[in-house]
Symmetry: C2
Subunit: 185 residues, 2 copies
């Protein structure tokens, strides 16, 4: 039941935005009674924070699994890692998180819950990217290049919000893969 | 009076977000009568789109002027350009635009007005960045590196939305300046 509530919340955040998502619409979508929902998540903020956290974990695990199955070795690896990251930052989970971050900006209670979540997710994604790229962060500049890569794909995610940016994104990532590889070498 | 309305709108978008900004609060903040406001901007969407467009132009002109006055030549120029861009993408105008982009995602009427604005602003910023960096876009990969730089600072802008990211941002930009300079050389 918890999983159904989480998925319904993210779906509604993506379809209707933060302001358009109500706890009533979530319980309807999930097919869960109001009472049961309120028992688990007394407020809208509880619900949306838990949902984005849950789906981020699910998506992170999927990403790690995809990486384990299919990443090429050698020269094509960097580009493949960038593709995985860009997929992640243009997925519905990113969109739902974006709705949450932006709403949290002007809602102090929500911000108190979202800020630590952002930090946790940020650290996790960073660690995973370091592993996927197989780089050594003790070398000067490597940490910052990984961060820059994540800032770049975050920017690409935002650029894809209201227009389909896939073609431009592909060219930018092709070039960044070459530059990143040279800078990390 | 138009300028007062535009500034009040951006202020309120930054303080209260898109959902929290009403046309009534704008006319109160600007000290403009409801009738006069409705004459110029019949709907909330007209008002917010015009305001973000107006302030983007003002801020773009300020940026160009700052660039003309004070950019160093030689090796320090790239870093100085990145600083200007990052300032721009962490300014209140970026925050107001972010509110608008995100609201437009789930509001078709707003999206029809915001999508062309995003394209216009994007092209303008790109052109300005090419000029400031003094690079030649006819060379292979230069256009994509400029785009990657703008995607990066957009990502940095988003990372600064609910937490103060200034220290991390400085380190990322220091490294990006070195990498970009080598890649463009």
């Amino acid at each position: 039941m918890r999983a159904r509530l989480m998925e319904a919340t993210v779906e509604l955040l993506v379809e209707r935005g933060f302001a358009g998502t109500s706890t009533t619409s979530v319980s309807e979508r999930a097919g869960v009674s109001r009472g049961a929902q309120l028992h688990h998540f007394p407020t809208k903020n509880d619900l949306v924070v838990a949902a984005v956290e849950h789906l981020t974990e699910v998506r992170g695990a999927e990403l790690a699994a995809a990486a384990e199955r299919g990443l090429p070795r050698g020269a094509r690896r960097t580009r493949a890692v960038l593709e995985l990251l860009a997929d992640h930052f243009t997925s519905p989970v990113f969109t739902a998180a974006l709705e949450l971050w932006v709403a949290a900006r002007t809602d102090e209670t929500l911000r108190e819950a979202v800020a630590p979540l952002e930090q946790r997710v940020g650290r996790q994604t960073h660690r995973m990217t370091v592993e996927l790229l197989g780089v050594d962060e003790s070398r000067t500049g490597v940490r910052e290049l990984v961060q820059a890569t994540l800032d770049l794909v975050r920017g690409l995610g935002l650029a894809d919000t209201i227009t389909d940016d896939a073609r431009r994104r592909k060219r930018v990532l092709d070039r960044w893969a070459v530059t990143l590889q040279e800078a990390l070498a």
